[in-house]
Amino acid sequence: MTDATDTTAGDFTPGEGSLLQRLCNEARWGLAATRASILEAAHPQIGAALVDHSTFVAHPWRRLRNTVVSTQRIVGGDERVRDKETARLNRLHSRISGTDSRGRPYDAMDPEARAWVVATLFESTVMMCRLGGEPLDQAAQERLYAEFRALLGHLGDAGGGRLPATLAEFWPYYEKTITEGLENTEAVHAVLYRLFAEVPAPPLLRDHPATWAAVRALAGPLATAITVASLPESYRRQAYLTALPGARVLMHGAYLTAGLATRWLPSSWTRTEVLLDVLNLGPGPGQGSPVVDSLRDHAGKVGALLRLVTPVPTRPGTGGSARRSAERFFAEVLDQTGDGYLDWPDLAAMAREIASRLDLDEQAENRLFTAYAAWWEELRTAMDADGDGRIDGQEYATATTLAGRALIEIAEILFDATDTDGDQAISPEEYRVLFRTTFDHDSAAGAPVPLSRSAFVREFLAFMAGRHHSAAYENLLTQT
């Protein structure tokens, strides 16, 4: 092998012009990333961690957004941003460990598992280029592999971690892991059959459940068919995933179309930002580049058009009550992982979301997690009637209130973290960072501007007690 492939860890500089950055910034990389995530979910350790901790089933769009933003930070040119993001990712993953349903331990920091994540992303990217009609030649593949290895090195796995040193050694490792290391895990089926079939409406279509149901009835099975057909044959056999007749053609067509679109359409249409923009998840107007703003403009028009051409939705009587049912609050806010129970991973997911919104440093993040852990202790003692270590909807409904001392502590920490200039009040700007929305929508509900500490704590408690709707907190904690 040439020296070029033997990149050692530490000198990871994707920056402008690297293959990794170019390919990750193409919207079609979503196809590759989806496929890779299935192969990751098939890894017993990763699969177990996903099932226990990930919010992808209940809040897929938020999860997608976080992933895209994180990827862009890592492959982007700014070294400080990159270092900060990798440190954050490592802290996040170090909190994820446990035992799976068969009693085997898993740990998100396991070097084997981390190497596999990078391996699937590399292989899926190579495949994306091949099926897109523009295969990477040997030199390019070696360069890309070196970049991915360096990425793993940058994440802290010295010397490229458990990834083989050269591309020639990579392929046997990949084949071997597929046939021997993967399993027919619950997570794979959760993604392929639950997520794709039940994915909640993206923000743009949230007000049009009927339209979304119609789109999903077609797109869900299609996404499953395309993803299944793109998996390696040997894994499909092992996991009893049958590729439907015609699915391979469909899959080839999808990759080829995406490849051609990337080549022929203006690049401003086919970059990852477009994806975010169409999903209407990006930062508020005036935040992005002119391109993003113009895309937002288009997205706004598409949204307007969709709303105008869809039949008038029959609106169930809202009743005008601010009180929401305990059941809905449990499902939409508390049960972040969507498994029907409230347990530590749900609270950890909330803390994670808040920490990434506010871009907390290590110390503040630890403080937040400690407060959430204390809240969890409080909840479990108060509500877990049958002592199974988790709270189900029934137990929650019969309990009196969620708001205890620990929750007040969380509100205080949230206030401190949001109040970045330390003037003991949340300015409209600080509010926007946390909630990605402006004040005045909510000020009708009684929140004065700017928010004082006590008003902030009160609003937070009212929301968490399930007593009040709050567009702002719903955006933060439920946005799917």
């Binding site: 028009k301 949204g303 307007a304 058009l305 709303r307 105008l308 051409v309 008038v312």
Partner: protein
């Protein structure tokens, strides 16, 4: 002889009388008005008129019986949704001149906002629908806005005042068509109609069609506009 008017406005009057003549409920008259609206938009579009304004619902109309108001709101909503795509496809920019009154049902407000968003970059023709509009209110608002922006008194001119009206890019109205033979202004775009020519066709609005519209255009072109002067030296094609 004058050229084509740049800005034509229609006061859509006579729906109630049209229904009464046929012993139908007033709402039937409003319903029949939809055809006339679409016909006039098409006729103005075909004639190449760049600005068309329709006076649909005034602030005073809230005083009508509740049932009729509700019906009107529903009708406007259905009409918007039915024709949104066709309007957009023709390159017509749609705007609504009036208040975001809380009495407008949220569904309708959303549709109005959507139609405005969808068509905001179109350039063939601008259709302004005066909905829940009051001419005096607009003027009062402009005055308030001047005061709020601390514009010194000596800087308030007709021109600078107009900048504080809603949609300041709207040119003055050249021709107002008020159907059903009524001769009133009814608080409609008071500022913009200052030098407008008026026609008062006898036909009731639900019966108003493209041919009537053309007749009004012809009558306008035969007039001599003087803008307050005794005589204009050379009639301009544009105004």
């Amino acid at each position: 002889m004058l050229g084509l008017p740049r800005h034509v406005a229609c006061v859509m009057d006579g729906n109630g009388r049209w229904a009464a003549q046929r012993s139908l409920p007033r709402t039937a008259g409003h319903k029949a008005a939809e055809t006339a609206v679409i016909d006039v938009i098409e006729a103005a579009y075909a004639a190449g008129i760049p600005w068309l304004s329709l006076f649909a619902f005034s602030t005073e109309n809230w005083l009508r019986p509740d049932g009729e108001v509700d019906f009107l709101m529903g009708l406007v909503r259905r009409t918007i949704r039915k024709h949104a795509l066709a309007l957009h496809a023709r390159g017509i920019r749609c705007r609504f001149l009036g208040d975001s009154d809380i009495r407008i049902p949220p569904d309708l407000a959303q549709d109005i906002a959507d139609l405005t968003t969808l068509t905001r970059d179109n350039g063939r023709m601008t259709l302004t629908v005066a909905f829940d509009h009051g001419g005096r209110r607009d003027i009062v608002r402009a005055a308030r806005s001047l005061i709020r922006n601390r514009v010194p008194a000596e800087q308030v001119t007709e021109e600078s005042f107009a900048h504080h009206l809603p949609y300041p890019d709207t040119p003055d109205v050249d021709l107002v068509i008020r159907t059903s033979g009524e001769h009133r202004i009814s608080n409609f775009m008071l500022w913009q109609v200052a030098y407008a020519e008026w026609t008062f066709p006898q036909v009731l609005w639900p019966d108003f069609r493209a041919t009537h519209f053309w007749e009004c255009l012809d009558s306008y072109r035969g007039r001599e506009r003087r803008f307050g002067a005794v005589r204009i030296p050379t009639p301009t094609g544009k105004s």
